[in-house]
């Protein structure tokens, strides 16, 4: 789950990384006395999208105008998301912007720390076009922190004041079960102080509970509802609902739907050992999603009992057309139950999706 900037900065501050003085305000809040932040402030919309600055989500203004400008910002949307929180911060005189991040490296199964002497908005371009300017050091996860040589290799000839920040960022990465912890820009100010001007932290979804995070904000209400039933669910914008078992098979079903010129309404993986009740739940959940005209059920597995699945589909009793492909134990019994109730069943996923294409075109 992505933390918002102000939450990420709280995490950084706890790890000993200096962050700008600031305060979060919400619509209807009395902004209170902002004079402590100096003559000028930065208003930063706390929305979960990238490219916020370019989309008008960051406003620099005299402190006296801040309440009015914040009021305007609350009325807007940034890349489709309404602004409900604004971080008001002191404006800082920046001399140079660096980049520092820690992330999980899939190729080596270790954390990797990145550092670049040229940070800021162009870092992605730099990483792509001139990757040698981003220094990378892999770290054994068996260590509890960064060894000094790694910090020296990362910081190189950049100011020594950056070294403790790099170490602290790594500690924050470990302590928060992060899959990404990024400071961009990591700024040197006119007076020589070092400051994390922005914060991007993504917490591992599998560690939310032990991090004390009750709810995954990255999921929609319907996606959370599905998660409570033990389903993996993603909303898409087509009209063909999909129930599958296993992430790969469900994705492959979606791809086949696209291959046949249709558009999937969702991704729903019911998980292992789908029984009557779970299947009924899943089919009902899709039937209630707006715009679903046809539902494809694609279940494969040695232990899936087709008669159970068939009964679940019948139990769901939804009005949409349902096309079933399943293979497993008691296939014949399942086919008989579905046939009795007028549902279509096919032996292969190609046939099932082709049937959907024939019927909805």
């Amino acid at each position: 789950m992505k933390l918002r900037e102000f939450e990420g900065k709280r995490v950084f501050a706890e790890a000993g990384i200096p962050v700008p003085r600031g305060r979060v305000i919400r619509p209807g809040d009395e902004p209170g006395d902002l004079d402590e932040f100096g003559d000028e402030v930065v208003l930063k919309a706390q929305v979960d999208v990238g490219g916020r600055g370019k989309a008008g989500g960051v406003v620099i203004c005299p402190t006296a105008e801040a309440p009015a400008r914040a009021g305007d910002l609350f009325g807007t949307t940034i890349r489709g998301l309404p602004v409900t929180e604004i971080l008001v911060e002191e404006r800082l005189p920046i001399v140079h912007e660096y980049y520092c991040a820690v992330m999980v490296d899939r190729s080596t199964s270790q954390p990797v720390v990145l550092f670049a002497e040229a940070g800021g908005v162009e870092i992605e371009e730099t990483a792509k076009n001139d990757p040698d300017r981003v220094r990378r050091v892999g770290i054994s996860p068996l260590l509890s922190g960064l060894p000094p040589f790694a910090v020296r290799d990362l910081v190189g000839a950049a100011p020594k004041a950056l070294a403790p920040i790099v170490s602290a960022l790594y500690r924050a990465f470990l302590a928060n079960d992060a899959i990404l912890a990024e400071i961009n820009p990591l700024a040197i100010l006119e007076d020589g102080r070092v400051m994390a001007v922005d914060a991007k932290v993504i917490v591992d979804d599998n560690a939310l509970a032990r991090q004390g995070i009750a709810q995954n904000r990255d999921l929609s209400e319907r996606e959370r509802e599905a998660e409570r039933h033990g389903f993996s669910y993603v909303e898409l914008d087509g009209d063909v609902g999909v129930v599958g078992n296993g992430a790969g098979l469900t994705m492959a079903t979606l791809d086949l739907i696209e291959h046949y010129g249709l558009r999937a309404a969702n991704f729903l993986d019911v998980g292992g050992g789908a029984d009557r009740e779970r299947v009924a739940h899943a089919v009902r959940l899709l039937a209630l999603s707006p715009g679903v005209r046809v539902i494809i059920v694609n279940l494969l597995g040695g232990i899936t009992r087709c008669d159970e699945v068939a009964l679940g589909i019948v139990d769901a009793g939804v009005r949409q057309r349902i096309i079933v492909r399943m293979a497993g134990t008691n296939e014949e019994e399942g086919r008989a139950i579905l046939g009795e109730h007028g549902y279509e069943m096919y032996g292969s996923m190609d046939e099932a999706v082709a049937a959907a294409a024939g019927g909805t075109r």
């Binding site: 999980v104 898409l236 078992n245 296993g246 994705m251 291959h259 996923m349």
Partner: protein, 288 residues
């Protein structure tokens, strides 16, 4: 055939839970059918002395190894303790640890995998269906009746999609040397590269089907590392960016790891990429 054969003795960690009990039964059914060793013991801390699906249960792998000869573990323990179970397998000298468990925090997985490396233990998974060498051994939860012995290796990040493809191959009369599910998590103990290196050393494997999905770049890295004939399938062409498609690792992040760019990269290496699973047998056949 790679990783395990009929002589491999297996310890199941998390033996007394629903999953553990059920799959000890299925693994040993298969072992009896093929004349293999199968699961010799179960482990659940605090449940030593009990029996699980016909095998004795011990409090630890250390205790189990005093009474039994085993080279591998299959791990069903809950996510919060599964990393520990991988480390326990390694510290007790097992050659192979197959972690079925899903939802292990990635920091636990990184630690466990790097710890296992110190002992030379091969980790498969986590969040995987395990492996099957048809006619020899089954370690994990794959439905055995779909697989047939033969010359094609299968290595996949998926579970049920692997069964689908194995079924397609078997129906087309193409058997498998070993089928390995390497897991759907972002960090896994054995990558495509690791498994392909084993297939390359295996005299029975003539070609490999590589089944990938969105997220990361392990497919391209693996394909570039081997000289074996490969046929690939990549799931998730229709997956939207920044959405986790069921597997923790199946996510297009920061514009990277999407299916189309993987397919382009693989085709650029001269590898045939199936646009749907049913095309795979015809693409593999010329290599046999």
């Amino acid at each position: 055939m790679i990783l395990a054969d009929r002589k491999s003795g297996v310890i199941v960690a998390g033996a007394t839970g629903r999953q553990g009990l059920f799959h000890i039964g299925l693994m040993n059914d298969y072992a009896r059918e093929v004349g293999g060793t199968g699961v010799v013991a179960g482990v659940t801390p605090g449940k030593g002395g009990q029996e699980a699906a016909g095998v004795p249960v011990y409090n630890s792998i250390r205790e189990a190894l005093r009474e039994h000869d085993a080279q591998a573990s299959v791990i069903f323990v809950p996510a919060s303790a599964a990393g520990d179970s991988i480390m326990e397998s390694a510290a007790n000298g097992l050659e192979l640890a197959v972690a079925i468990t899903e939802h292990i925090p990635v920091h636990d997985t990184m630690k466990a995998i790097n710890y296992a490396r110190l002992y030379g233990t091969t980790v498969i998974g986590p969040n995987c269906p395990g492996l099957i060498s048809p006619g020899e051994a089954k370690l994990g939860i794959m439905p055995a009746h779909l697989a047939r012995p033969g010359p094609v290796g299968v290595v996949s990040r998926s579970g049920t999609l692997t069964y689908e493809i194995v079924d397609e191959l078997s129906r087309a009369g193409i058997g498998q040397s070993t089928v390995v599910g390497i897991g759907g998590d972002p960090v896994i103990g054995s990558t495509f590269t690791d498994i392909l290196a084993r297939f390359e050393r295996d005299p029975t494997t003539k070609a490999v089907v590589l089944v990938g999905e969105v997220g990361g770049a392990l497919e391209q890295e693996g394909a570039a590392s081997t000289s074996l004939p490969l046929v690939a399938y990549i799931a998730g062409v229709s997956a939207p960016p920044d959405k986790r498609m069921g597997h923790a690792g199946a996510i297009v992040e920061g514009g990277e790891g999407d299916a189309r760019s993987k397919i382009r990269a693989l085709e650029g290496m001269g590898i045939a990429v199936a646009s749907r699973p049913s095309e795979i047998p015809d693409l593999v056949r010329p290599y046999l």
